[in-house]
């Protein structure tokens, strides 16, 4: 079973806002001139910003259960850049009944508009039976 997808357009404005909120002012995220001179060739979004989309996907599907029991394991495969459209998807792979609850396991991913993986990972959430 697939979870309802999310789509997010990454903009430099979002990246700058995230830098302010997270207090992560690494110039690779916010300084275009600096970033242009690095092998990345331009600014990139914070990995944690893109990872937050997976948490949104899980919160939309499982509500407070995700916020209080969620578990996430993710690998960053490629940077997301301003202008990228990220599709966030999830698929339930296993459901396991425990005492009074059900553990739900999912494969999750963020892909860019070229279908390249940006983040891949697995989640687990416990919901009341």
């Amino acid at each position: 079973m697939r979870l309802p997808e999310l789509k997010r357009l990454v903009t430099q404005e979002h990246i700058n806002l995230y830098a302010e909120a997270s207090r992560d002012f690494n110039p690779i995220h916010i300084d275009a001139e600096f970033a242009r001179q690095t092998p990345l060739g331009g600014t990139i979004a914070h990995g944690m910003l893109i990872l937050s989309y997976i948490s949104q996907l899980m919160t939309n599907s499982f509500g407070e259960s995700w916020l209080g029991t969620g578990k996430l394991s993710a690998r960053f495969k490629a940077p997301a850049r301003p202008g990228d459209t990220i599709t966030v998807s999830g698929k339930i792979t296993k459901m396991q009944k425990d005492e009074g609850s059900i553990s739900i396991y999912c494969d999750v991913a963020c892909q860019n508009q070229r279908n390249e993986p940006v983040i891949i990972g697995e989640t687990k959430v416990r919901v009341k039976a």
């Binding site: 909120a21 997270s22 944690m48 948490s55 509500g63 969620g70 578990k71 394991s73 993710a74």
Partner: protein, 135 residues
């Protein structure tokens, strides 16, 4: 939210960073929600803090105490949300070097993160890993 900085070369497995406390003020949470375009009502109506906002602040606390060489890449992130936290709560973040190993041409550094509330109840645990080019 700053702490003494330590260079990568001086880190060893077991090294503990200075714990860092931060308040989940509503301005920060609102800025975070705007940045990630999260309109879920749960955060506004129940005043629950998004766990990824807490994780972001824990990472910022870690970054303020760590000098990684140029070319370091954040390769993986594990997080477990143990208990919810609410806006205006004071939290403390702890970080510890779990592993520092060589793998092929790269060094790999894994740091465990643990966030507690004022009652010493765990809110989030996790592990963040970086690969670094060999110098």
């Amino acid at each position: 939210m700053t702490q003494p900085r330590i260079e990568y070369e001086k880190l060893t497995a077991g090294y503990e960073f200075v714990p860092t406390s931060f308040k989940l003020d509503s301005r920060m949470v609102m800025a975070y929600l705007k940045a990630v375009e999260d309109n879920n009502r749960i955060y506004k109506e129940d005043k629950i803090a998004p766990p990824m906002a807490i994780a972001a602040l824990a990472m910022a606390a870690l970054s303020s105490g760590l000098d990684l060489p140029p070319g370091a890449i954040h390769v993986s992130q594990e997080l477990e949300f143990i208990n919810t936290a609410h806006i205006d709560e004071m939290l403390t973040s702890y970080a510890r070097v779990n592993r520092k190993v060589e793998r092929g041409k790269f060094h790999m550094l894994s740091i465990g993160i643990h966030v507690e509330n004022q009652k010493k109840t765990t809110v989030i645990t996790g592990e963040t890993s970086f690969i670094l080019p060999l110098s």
